[in-house]
């Protein structure tokens, strides 16, 4: 089999796998709805006699065997209909997606901070491992791993909002409506509101990424091509950044992509601390008020995000690195 055909087969297999995972997630969401949610309660409230309930249940096909109902659920899900929220009385998918920009901007802000700090920090501690600064960077990263993300947020709020009064402690501040996207990035107030949550979220990812950059750089710096570049008279900075870093980024992207579930969990915690009106905050509201359709919609969408990111990471690694084994072994 030539390289192209095996590449295509890999992509096809990966897509089938992604579809199967997505199907499994839908089965779980369906099971949760069947066992915990009562669609009748969404429609007619609780003060309706049992005979009327039974009639409506039959009319809506809710007494049909579960394979029939599951097929119907799948069909509706494919058209973007995942139910109606009990709290908001609107299609759940609309409710959840309206909160997506807030979560996305929070993750974006945190990722920028991580990128700006972990690359120099990781490179520095790899090329000058014995320096005081490098030890400090690694020491701080042990500290970062040991402090739960919600405590970082609470400590930052206590210091910068309550004691110093410099930055706001909750909410998104002033946002600008761009039609489908509510952004907080275009106003000073919005950016001020973003700073502490983004810092908090980045604090938990930074240690991991600094260690990853450092590890990947240490690996690359030991290779022959780095010595060759040096021998050719390339400046140290050029060797570190242009030669070694470029190759070090690849495993980094793969590991970073695999952390997407953890990132969602940390985002949820950060949103709770800062009452940031994102998807995670909405999910917890849905849980406290037992809004089952909203809960399952969140699960399906987060599952979709997880599957898409993981599949993309695999494909990008395949495209960028010819050494990736197509057989899935090591």
């Amino acid at each position: 089999m030539n390289a192209f055909a095996s590449g295509a087969a890999f992509i096809a297999r990966r897509l089938v796998q992604a579809l199967l995972v997505m199907l499994a997630i839908l089965v779980i969401a369906f099971a949760v709805r069947q066992s915990l949610g009562d669609p009748l309660r969404e429609i007619m409230g609780q003060a309706v006699p049992e005979s009327e309930r039974a009639a409506l249940r039959h009319e809506l096909g809710l007494d049909a065997p579960w394979p029939v109902q599951f097929t119907r659920y799948l069909g509706q899900a494919a058209t973007g209909d995942l139910g109606t929220s009990i709290i908001y009385k609107k299609p759940t998918i609309e409710v959840v997606l309206a909160k997506f920009p807030a979560s996305f901007e929070l993750v974006l802000g945190a990722s920028l901070i991580v990128l700006l700090l972990s690359l120099p920090g990781g490179i520095y501690s790899a090329v000058r491992p014995r320096n005081l600064g490098a030890r400090l960077v690694l020491g701080l990263s042990v500290l970062g791993i040991s402090v739960p993300v919600f405590l970082t947020g609470i400590l930052l709020i206590t210091i910068f909002s309550v004691w110093l009064g410099w930055l706001p402690a909750f909410g998104r501040g002033e946002t600008v409506d761009l039609g489908v996207w509510q952004t907080g990035l275009l106003t000073l107030d919005g950016l001020e509101h973003l700073l502490l949550p983004a810092l908090t979220l980045s604090s938990i990812m930074l240690p991991l990424f600094i260690r990853l950059v450092r590890g990947a750089m240490l690996d690359e710096l030991g290779h022959d091509y780095v010595r060759t570049a040096r021998a050719k008279g390339a400046s140290p900075l050029r060797v570190w950044v242009v030669h070694a870093l470029r190759n070090a980024l690849l495993p980094l992207a793969a590991v970073g992509g695999l952390q997407v579930g953890t990132l969602i969990a940390y985002t949820l915690l950060t949103e709770t601390v800062f009452q940031w009106p994102g998807m995670g905050f909405l999910f917890l509201e849905a849980v406290t008020r037992a809004d089952i359709p909203l809960i399952t919609t969140y699960l399906v969408l987060v599952g979709l995000l997880f599957v898409v990111v993981n599949t993309l990471v695999d494909m990008v690694s395949l495209a960028l690195d010819p050494r990736v084994s197509l057989e899935g072994g090591r």
Binding site: V142, P148, L155, A169, G261, T262, L269, L284, A286
Partner: protein, 306 residues
């Protein structure tokens, strides 16, 4: 052969004490916290769960080093007038209990499956490795949040609080078994190829006896090392769940619950109600991680002196 097990450990511990004052400090701190938790009912000036002993007039008193404090409450009081020092002792007790029990479950499942995979190999091995990969690709914290959220939405907050401890232990325990399984499998592969295993088989020992009596004791040290960081992870996961309101209830608070219930008060100036339990949590986690790092370096000859 079994005599050889203890020697490297003894050497490691000797190294450890000399080279790592930080680890000794961390161990001492953990020892104090653990003892304080164990004897909480004897040490705590107040039973924080006994509502009759609380007085609302004592609410939100600051710690003794601040103005307006009451010498009866060393670390101040919370919104209900509960002695914070007592609440932290009992809270840390629950946090440590959940953390340790969760790791007991993780290691029981993980080590058994890892031994199976490493010793028998073949299909069993590839099945277990596959399962571990799948489990690891799902984030533990995210899974735990989802499962606890479903229990909460399904059972309601009141019913959840009755089963909070066993549920948390199970959820955090079941999610992380692959960490132990991988380590146990890798170590078993190495041990199973050694002469003493072949010798044991030659004299007619059963597989179970070989695994249990010969291999298991020889793979213990890497397992002990990961247990430490796993306990830290489990304590952190429990705190996160409780902070989200998906873990321990307010009537039986862990450190995470205390942080959650004191959170609103920081805006009213009563920072200690949330920050002090937070600092205890951070102290415990840092100590465990420092100790775990030191243990790993001490037991791994390649890392020594680095």
């Amino acid at each position: 052969m079994s005599a050889g097990v203890n020697q490297p450990n003894a050497r490691a511990f000797a190294n450890f004490a000399g080279e790592r004052p930080g680890a000794i400090l961390a161990a001492a701190l953990l020892g104090v916290v653990a003892l304080a938790c164990l004897f909480a009912p004897l040490i705590a000036p107040q039973d924080p769960f006994d509502l009759a002993s609380l007085d609302l007039l004592d609410a939100e008193l600051p710690p003794v080093w601040q103005e307006g404090s009451d010498p009866r409450f060393v670390l101040g009081t919370d919104a209900q007038g509960r002695d914070l020092f007592s609440a932290i002792l009992y809270g840390a007790r629950i946090s440590l209990l959940v953390g340790i029990l969760a790791v007991v479950i993780q290691s029981a499942i993980g080590v058994s499956l890892g031994l199976l995979a490493g010793y028998f190999g073949g299909r069993i091995d590839s099945l277990i490795t596959r399962l571990a990969d799948i489990q690891l690709s799902l984030s533990t914290l995210m899974m735990a949040i989802i499962v606890m959220a479903l229990f909460r939405a399904g059972l309601g907050g009141a019913a959840l609080s009755t089963f909070a401890v066993p549920l948390l232990v199970l959820v955090i325990g079941l999610a992380e078994w692959p960490v132990f399984a991988r380590t146990a499998r890798a170590a078993t592969l190495v041990e199973a190829a050694k002469d003493y295993v072949r010798a044991a088989r030659a004299v007619g020992s059963s597989d179970l006896a070989i695994v249990h009596r010969h291999i298991l004791p020889n793979i213990l040290s890497p397992l002990v090392v990961i247990s430490t960081t796993q306990v830290a992870g489990a304590i952190m996961a429990e705190a996160a769940l409780s902070f989200l309101g998906l873990g321990m209830p307010v009537t039986k608070p862990s450190l995470g619950t205390l942080i959650r219930s004191g959170y609103d008060l920081i805006f009213a100036g009563a920072w200690w109600v949330t920050i002090l339990p937070g600092l205890v949590l951070i102290g415990v986690l840092i100590s465990i991680n420092v100790l775990g790092d030191a243990l790993r370096d001490g037991l791994d000859p390649r890392r020594r002196g680095g």
